[in-house]
Symmetry: C2
Subunit: 427 residues, 2 copies
């Protein structure tokens, strides 16, 4: 098998993470180092949207020092989007347009860093390329703070959000501890729409009984109001305070999200969407039914970009995942996503990369296993600690400016001249 020569495109998709740029850096630096194969490295402005619109930029024209700094830069510096392509029948025009743009620029390598929707897009694009006899290699790089991708032990992005979340809960927990005579309870809302991996990571902050969080609510365990009220009361009896780590995707047994429960827990004031999310609903229960004051914290997008306290392990694995994607492509591998494989070397954690079929990842979702929670379902087990602790070790080394604040990369994005001679209306 001879290696195809041609341009590479790298694109990011979905919600940013602290380390998606580290993966991009791994892809980019490895492509640039193999310029006998890769005749250019392009970026898609806002991911697949940029490809559809033929808004491409030349990553090879960026300052190498700024590219190197991507390793220590949060969010998606290449630009991201939430544009989801449907199946080949429904969205065939979109897939064909992508191939049209690829062909126009002789793009033969597609490195897509994202979650399962992105892997789905890459898989379908690969299939169409084969049908249409367009020689192309598509390799996926996993990315999601949610840690819910199938086929990989864990996802780049998770270790960093877990580390930051645990540290924030540790710190905010001390606030509740100091001020329990006034601010008796705190609900700390944590990202993760369908899976409780990040909410569970808050439990790492609890090294002793009195530490926060006292109750962890995850989407995988149905929320029962009466049981929750009873738990909060018991906690107040024991510690005089209660700190709740609340996954944003917590739902009742009938599948209703707490944050969207409408009249049941919180009134939707805008008609079409909830006002405050899960933490607000839980606060309403605590204030109305338990009758004590409750504060809410909700770091929002700050949590998934908290490079200032990111995991060094996560950064390094994210970079290596990017490198591995290009190495696989150089070996002629296509239709696969890079995976992270955990090895236990006599108790010491070691991680290598592997490969899984894109389709397998596209159609799977990995929820938090019940065994990672304790009997109550509102605390973590030792098995979860063993799983998660190696992922948050080490603190990522970032550049700090003279002003005392982090210095992050921003790409110049030198746009490439369009070649397809047509505007494409993105649906």
């Amino acid at each position: 098998m001879s290696t195809i020569k041609g341009k590479a495109i790298v694109a990011q998709s979905g919600g940013p993470t602290a380390v998606i740029n580290a993966s991009a850096c791994g892809v980019i630096q490895t492509c640039l180092a193999n310029d006998d194969v890769f005749t250019g490295v392009y970026g898609g402005l806002n991911g697949i949207l940029g490809v559809l619109r033929e808004e491409l930029y030349d990553i090879g024209a960026e300052d190498p020092a700024e590219l190197e700094r991507l390793k220590r830069t949060p969010s998606a510096a290449l630009g991201s989007c939430r544009h989801k392509l449907k199946d080949l029948q429904t969205s065939r025009a979109d897939y064909e347009r992508i191939l049209e743009v690829f062909a126009a620029h002789d793009i033969r390598y597609f490195f897509y860093i994202g979650g399962n929707d992105s892997m789905d897009t890459a898989a379908k694009l690969g299939k169409l390329a084969e049908q249409e006899d367009y020689e192309m290699i598509a390799v996926g790089v996993p990315k999601t703070i949610d840690n819910d991708l199938a086929g990989t032990d864990h996802c780049p992005g998770y270790g960093s959000v877990a580390k930051y979340t645990a540290a924030s809960v540790l710190e905010a927990g001390r606030d509740t501890e100091a001020l329990y005579t006034h601010d008796t309870t705190t609900v700390h809302e944590i990202m993760g729409r369908n899976a409780g991996w990040i909410a569970a990571s808050a439990g790492l902050a609890r090294r002793s009984d009195e530490d926060a969080p006292h109750i962890i609510l995850v989407p995988e365990v149905p929320f029962e109001k009466d049981r929750f009220i009873e738990q909060v009361r018991r906690c107040l009896d024991k510690y005089k305070r209660c700190f709740v780590a609340c996954g944003e995707g917590v739902k009742t047994a009938d599948g209703q999200y707490l944050g969207e429960a409408g009249g049941q827990f919180a009134t939707d004031a805008f008609g079409h969407r909830q006002l405050g999310g899960a933490a607000m609903a839980v606060r309403a229960i605590i204030e109305n039914d338990v009758g004590v004051k409750c504060r809410t914290n909700r770091a929002g997008t700050a949590q998934r970009n908290a490079m200032h306290f990111a995991s060094a392990t996560d950064v390094s694995e994210a970079y290596e995942a990017g490198v591995a994607a290009v190495r696989a492509a150089l070996d002629g591998v296509s239709g696969k996503m890079v995976t992270l494989e955990r090895h236990d070397d006599g108790g010491a954690y070691r991680c290598t990369t592997g490969l899984a079929p894109l389709e397998e990842v596209a159609n799977g979702v990995k929820l938090l296993p019940r065994a990672f929670l304790d009997d109550s379902g509102t605390g973590i087990s030792q098995a979860f600690r063993d799983y998660a602790l190696p992922l948050i070790r080490g603190q990522a080394d970032i550049d700090i400016g003279d002003d005392g604040l982090p210095v992050y990369a921003r790409l110049s994005k030198h746009m490439v001249a369009k070649k397809t001679q047509r505007q494409y209306a993105v649906g």
Copy 2:
């Protein structure tokens, strides 16, 4: 003047900060080092509440290593409260009770670390002690993330919350930048009920025009809905995204807090209090009147305890303020609060401690000067940068455990036997 011998008590009051324990550490270590004067060092369990209830503990019995670690521990490890004593007439029984407890334990030194309410309490207590001929020294140590205390250039606690806030806004701003095709606007709510000092610190993240935050809302500048909508629209035209740093205490010209505006901006779903605070109200305006998607972030209590990215300058000044309080007391000074004085050594920042009368601090409040904002009133000026940047320099060195998370001190709080032979009902 001969130095009084007797016990010292140190107490913390009000909302925690990243460095209030550093100040306590300065007081405690300096007292313990001068045991020829201080016959013991006590803590009040939850500040003045603990004194009123005679719930005191012996700080001298703590592990010195754990006391040393207070320097790098956020929140109020001594325990805090929000119990406010009124004037001497109304709350005379409370003040007398404090003196009763002090006399019973031969407490002759009162070190109170807090905001202006605490300075007020300390001032009034000192006055009553004089009237009643109880020989006692009261010295205050400033503490507030809000930075609104009179008589001091800045307050310990501010530099750290400013550093963390600026870093979070810098990072969350990159999220909005990467995902502007979907999550077009973000409102990041920042603490500061009456003053915009912390909200303004978000502006430090904006090193270039395109950086977040594009609009800063502070309580000192009345919120005008139409003008705000216009500003957001202009920002979207220019950058395709808009990031708003929103002080929690933002209010309209008639003094109504946005977060409590009831029917005007956001519906109060629980009848007796607002659902979401200022950010939710601003989000409603952006989604309803500008018509683009808006995300909200609200770090809540996590922001004021973020020792994991605290300012080394702040930690060191907080410690020195504690030391200076004890040195002043040893010099026979009473009725004063330690202040921080800024010196400009040919452009280099230098800070020393001074003293201000407690009454002056108790009755003053220092709002963000208009000159610290730009002409629009929704951005910061160079004068503010010059003021704030030295305060956020350096990163506090914290202990990190084998688990990759910070290790913070927790006191054992060995309770002291009661001596006053009566229960006191705190009003």
